[in-house]
Amino acid sequence: MGSVKVSQLTKEFSGVLALKNVSLDIKEGEFFALLGPSGCGKTTTMRCIAGFEQPTSGIIQLGETEVNHIPPNRRNCGMVFQSYALFPHMNVFDNVAYSLNIKQLNASNLVAKLPVYLRLLNRKLGNYPKYIEQKVMEILEYVELDQYAMRLTSELSGGQQQRVALARSLLMEPAVLLMDEPLSNLDQKLRHSMRNTIRRIQQDLGITTIFVTHDQEEAMSMADRVAVMDSGEVKQIGTPIELYSRPSTPFIANFVGTSNVLKGSVIGQENGFSIIKGKGFILKSTNHADQTEVNLIVRPENIKAFKPGTINEDKLTNIIDGTVLVSTYLGSIVRYDIKVDEYQLVVDTTFVPGEAILTEGEKVQLSIDPERVLII
């Protein structure tokens, strides 16, 4: 019921391709993040799923049903807007109760519709049935807003507004929950606590969730799986660990965490290692590639830095010479920018109290475990 399948989705806006053959297969109960830089088509993808945009081509399925021709009001996708889109003339309670009012409206005959319309137009004109009141208060309690039920939404803080929007969407018991950069309007601290809140609610309810963000940390820390998008295309889909350890392009490697990207060519094989030579380095890798011109990806924490002459050469086979450009003390780690020929490598080393930090201009030797040299 709660799965989402998008096949070969293409969307054109007056000649501009916003989406190119986007395919996603999201399982029931999964927390799925769409990650990508601004303008890459995340919102457009989400709006196509919610039904606010008609795809130029491609199929969208919710559960087993194709929904391309189902209007947005009947798709049962709860959407939390980036701006929250709360109804400014209604208080918190009325906002949250909206979907139940609509359900009652659709289920009743012309005469019975009237009281619903009246209380939708003005709260003073009609009372809610008990069951609605109960449900609304329940969900408000759940998001810890029960004391704020009678407040106008403009009298709430950003985080509270966010939770109202979430509660409003959850109350309609959507098959899928769509969230478009829900945390981008919050300050740093609140963002962290809201991450946990959202994740907890998602786990509690087991609701399929698609979460749009351009913040990789957000995506990596919250999602079961992440789709990385760039200029209208899905570049890679995988769990956060897969994306981090096996990025399929330099773009993803850089987008998902920090990476050092080196260009080189494969010059031979030796004992199961590929030997790659580039400007200022020769590296062994346990990975293999079909082509000769390759990109090497090395994460900063997988490079170790030594003062020249202090390396035990037997164990560490990949050694490069460089010069320290900048060293930054970041608490538990020290980050170095190290010049190797034309490259500037980022190296993170664990800070050991009492051990000297390499200083700027100092010569340095770097070593990299061949297993950590990724060829793409």
């Binding site: 021709h69 701006s83 609509i102 409206l105 659709n106």
Partner: protein, 566 residues
């Protein structure tokens, strides 16, 4: 097909209904009247669709199509002089207004002249008074027994200072009651003129007056021209003044058209005059649009430039005195009406012979019906325009429906009398026999005033973010339900402001009321008009005062609402 069906919802039905409404009550009458200008006989287009007999007779009529009416414009002396006089009047009025307003506008925009607030307040009077009441006030002042005439004669003058029943009388009324339409755009024009250029001129040693004539004034010219064009259209379309003041031998298009239809049932004649009126008004409206396009006077308030206000004593005092003398004329006119309404009799004396509230008693006993009618009709038009304007602005803002936008601005260029004639011709037979019903009157008011209402609601609609509506739809509401439960309530302030404007203008409306109102639905404006024709001046005056008071109260409420919005 499937796609089409799914996008076909309640809202599309509403959109179609609105198109049908405009099609039937705006386009159809205008097209019909255009056709009649060739056939000289009523054309029943709706009937032709419904009934084959009518269709064949319509086809018969088309066989007699001729340009005879168009030739008449040049051969028939009545028509020819009507065209000439109407154009002449409008040109004269716009020139006088501009020249008269230049010192006032300059005074308000660029000097520290005393009594600025008072002057600005007095300038609103002309806008709340329907022109036929102003015209009537001028008779009280300048007529044979008027108090101005009395003063003039006691100062040694012969006869009348100015005969109100003449071209001069009409010009007088229109100048003094239309000038505020030009004044505020002119003030804006003087404010935008580039200050730095003026300072440069002064720095170079030029005198103040030299700078004004060669720098300030030329810079304001586009604004002045646009104001003049606006006054031209207003004067050209005005019916209230000429119908009261035009003497028998002065032909004017609006009066002539009214006579052709109300007096002689000359369909062809009325049609050709209507076509001319619409074309001329549309042309000048378009010209004015050209002049205002791209000039954003709004930027004045947005980013106030450092204005150096002229503080020369003799200049500001002269300007202030001049302005006060001019803007006090409409006030005197209104006071004259008030005096007349409480006068027992008022002969050739500066003041009435005695005072009484009997006339008010009369209208509140015998003419209460007219007041009631006015209010009911205005309410009807209000409800209809609220509903239509809300949806139209929705379609224009959310669905970029430029066709609807265009359609709702058509009534701006159609003079009231022309629209009335078109409606009478179109709806005087089956299948839609509406001439003489209150319904047609309400529809006519609605269409005439819709552009103002739409402007008001469109502004609020633009301020409502699209995602709020999408949120409602996302929560399960159909677009129609979302429009009713979310967009509607959010638009209330705009709707309220627009409604009051509609209500006021409908109560003031003259031409449509006189042409279309059936006897049992006569609104106040028609009653006043008939009273004046019958010579019942005192009750006419009392009724006018009631009308103006109603308008004033509503205006105050309206200002309150729009202030609360800020």
């Amino acid at each position: 097909m499937k796609n089409w069906l799914s996008s076909f919802n309640g809202l599309s039905v509403v959109k179609i209904l609105i198109y049908v409404f405009f099609g039937v009550f705006l386009l159809l009458p205008l097209i019909s009247v255009f056709l009649v200008s060739f056939t000289s006989e009523p054309i029943n287009l709706l009937g032709s669709i419904a009934d084959p007999n009518i269709l064949s007779s319509t086809i018969e009529k088309f066989k007699n199509v001729s340009f005879a009416n168009y030739e008449k414009i040049f051969t028939n002396l009545t028509y020819l002089s009507a065209v000439k006089n109407s154009l002449g009047l409008a040109i004269l009025v716009s020139l006088i207004v501009i020249v008269m307003c230049i010192p006032i506008a300059y005074g308000i925009a660029r000097t520290k002249m005393p009594f600025k607030k008072t002057i600005a307040a007095l300038c609103t009077i002309p806008l709340i008074v329907p022109t036929f009441i102003s015209a009537y006030a001028i008779i009280i002042m300048f007529g044979r027994a008027g108090w101005v005439t009395y003063i003039y004669q006691s100062l040694g003058g012969e006869g009348m200072l100015l005969d109100p029943y003449s071209m001069a009388g009409i010009v007088l009324v229109q100048v003094f009651f239309f000038f505020p339409y030009a004044l505020w755009p002119m003030v804006a024009a003087f404010k935008v003129s580039d200050i730095s250029l003026e300072e440069a001129s002064l720095n170079l040693g030029a005198k103040n007056w030299f700078t004004f004539i060669f720098v300030t004034f030329p810079l304001a010219i586009p604004g002045l021209i646009s104001s003049a064009l606006l006054i031209f259209t207003v004067s050209f379309s005005d019916f209230g003044t000429p119908i009261i003041l035009a003497p028998k031998d002065l032909n004017l298009l609006v009066v002539e058209a009214y006579r052709e239809i109300a007096g002689f049932f000359n369909w062809g004649g009325a049609a050709i005059l209507t076509v001319i009126m619409v074309l001329v008004a549309a042309f000048f409206f378009w010209l004015q649009h050209l002049f205002t396009k791209g000039k954003n006077y709004g930027s004045v308030s947005g980013k106030p430039k450092q204005q150096k206000l002229n503080d020369t004593k003799w200049l500001t005092r002269t300007l202030s005195g001049y302005s006060l003398i001019l803007v006090i004329v409409p006030l005197l006119a209104m006071l004259s009406i008030v005096l007349q309404s409480v006068a027992t009799t008022w002969g050739s004396n500066p003041l009435p012979n005695g005072y009484t509230f009997a006339h008010y008693q009369t209208i509140f006993t015998s003419s209460l019906g007219n007041i009631q009618n006015s209010i009911i009709l205005a309410l009807g038009a209000l409800v209809l325009s609220v509903v239509i304007a809300t949806f139209v602005s929705y379609f224009v803002v959310r669905q970029n429906s430029s066709r609807l936008d265009f359609m709702t601005s058509i009534p701006l260029v159609v003079p009231g009398i022309a629209f009335g004639i078109a409606l009478i011709q179109t709806f005087n037979t089956a299948p839609l026999h509406l001439t003489g019903t209150a319904l047609l009157l309400i529809v006519a008011y609605t269409i005439r005033r819709l552009p103002y209402m739409v402007r008001s609601t469109m502004g609020t609609m633009r301020a409502i973010k699209q995602d709020i509506e999408e949120a409602a739809i996302n929560l399960g509401a159909t677009p129609l339900t979302a429009a009713i439960t979310i967009i509607g309530p959010l638009m209330l302030p705009g709707i309220a402001a627009g409604s009051i404007l509609v209500f006021i203008t409908v109560i003031k409306e003259t031409s449509i009321s006189i042409l279309l109102a059936p006897a049992d639905w006569a609104p106040m404006s028609l009653a006043i008009f008939q009273n004046i024709l019958r010579g019942e001046y005192y009750t006419a005056a009392a009724m006018s005062v009631v009308l103006v008071v109603i308008v004033l109260i509503l205006q105050a409420v309206g200002n309150r609402i729009s202030k609360n919005q800020l």
